[in-house]
Symmetry: C2
Subunit: 352 residues, 2 copies
Amino acid sequence: MAQKIIFTNDINNSLNQVLEDIDFNKLFVLTDVNTSHYVAPKLAEVFYNHNATHITIPAGDTNKNIDSLTQVWSKLGNNGATRRSLLINLGGGMVTDLGGFAASTFKRGIRFVNIPTTLLSAVDAAVGGKTGINFNGLKNEIGVFNEADAVIISTTPLYTLPKEEIKSGFAEMLKHGLLKGKDTFNKLLAFDFDNFNPDHLLDLLEESVNVKREIVAIDPHEKGLRRALNLGHTVGHAFESLAMSRKSPIPHGYAVAWGMVVELVLSHLILKFDSDVLHRYAQFICDNYGVFYITCNDYPALISLMKHDKKSNCGEMNFSLLSDVGDIKINCEASEEIVEAALDIYRDLMHI
Amino acid sequence: MAQKIIFTNDINNSLNQVLEDIDFNKLFVLTDVNTSHYVAPKLAEVFYNHNATHITIPAGDTNKNIDSLTQVWSKLGNNGATRRSLLINLGGGMVTDLGGFAASTFKRGIRFVNIPTTLLSAVDAAVGGKTGINFNGLKNEIGVFNEADAVIISTTPLYTLPKEEIKSGFAEMLKHGLLKGKDTFNKLLAFDFDNFNPDHLLDLLEESVNVKREIVAIDPHEKGLRRALNLGHTVGHAFESLAMSRKSPIPHGYAVAWGMVVELVLSHLILKFDSDVLHRYAQFICDNYGVFYITCNDYPALISLMKHDKKSNCGEMNFSLLSDVGDIKINCEASEEIVEAALDIYRDLMHI
């Protein structure tokens, strides 16, 4: 079944429509402590009319763990969820990933609907069927591929988002732009975070989600093409883990934005990716995201993290790189030496 | 992909063949403390040649839990498993269910092969893609549908099985016989546990597994027809849970054997199932399995357990019943009164 994705400025109406189309016997709503407070009230009437049971978990990626997961499983079971029940995941990627995994495994799978409340989850986590939790110090180490019955993407929750959250999500849109082609990419590089219209953002968002959707439709289980979506993520995940080990976590989107600088450098070194585009991108990131500080003392840890990435085999580092904007090459391997060189150039570009 | 099921008297050769056909980069073998000791040594050479990493968990259904699961996930991760690694589940249903779930969720899914070591798991758990663990006091509350790449069914491990284990597995074969038709069913009722040839058992086993296979192929996710395989299980699971709460657990197959007596009574009361066949079946169970003692004081607990069964909706009790041998009706609801009447008749038939 193709995943239904709804782009809307009227989230209440869209949710009512979705609930009408799905045959379920009991409704559950998963939020974290933030979305429970800031977003759930906007949908209170719909939830009340369906006699929904609310489940709230702690916020933040560090809580995307087995404790929160077992809490959701228990709440579902203790409140009479059956195989015909429906779970709505209302939150950022942490909630849609964990809630999607909880639903996919409760009684061997109940249906779920995602309502992303951050730009990042709207453009990335909520769409495409990746669910999971962090485990054993690794991000998304445990999970399954399973698509939500519907995803409702609305700018309504975005109005209240801090600018940092918008930027975090925008990084994935930049990635989709790099995968799509020069037109989309240039439109994104012209974006002004200090002065934008959320409705214009909804259009850009739809274009961006459709890039992901086309790729996922061809390769849902990441056997090949879907790895294109990992652009920036091998290095990005390593940055995230390093930041976590420094006890100063960074937003996922920022990690990807910086990770893409390194991976575009690798693309330049290995596939002759245009150095002008690389410089324009790096400048945009520097201006809007600042920099992630690393020294050469961090290289061994970063390389070890990249070798343990899910995408890697037997200790080889595996990247999705670009030979040009819109022209992806998956399964590129890179030696330690070339990765170290790319990290050196990253530090130059970022003026570290 | 259709699940490959191999019936063999040469388990080493078959395993070698399977490992040749699958492209993997690292082999893991999951056993419990029993199969690690009694069965793994028979395959030691194959495992050694593939440099397999062994993971051993505690035995028994009470250990089919989240602790054992996280132990398997950690061992996989800490020993370098990647998405291209392969897990062999060597054990009874507890090992194949839990190992199948661990493999299905580790890095969003790695491949696995089941080698059932009990008759019960050969005829039931190892085939058909149900994986999972017990949670929150409920059997198989958490899991996914996902088929093993291959299942190797051999009588080799069966030679060492205690008679109780043979009987436990045989109950599922009786179920398949009831679903298939009178010929198969009568062949099974003529079986002599005190005097049988394991090779003859392999033939019966293949016939039995094929009944399940045909049903699962039509309805892998238990939307309809597959519920036929729940014959005996709504009551059987309730008996198992009751026995567990009495701190004297009963084997799953025995619970199903007794559960089928109750459900054949229900079939007789609701669908006019032949009373002669019911009596012959009840006599066979009484003679070979003994009885599971209940009094009318147990009825409320049993009924509450049946209402919480995964197959049930909103507190209705749901059964798969027979109008005749070979003629199943799924989604039969029954009132508390008729279930109590059936439990009364069960006690009569069992001479309790």
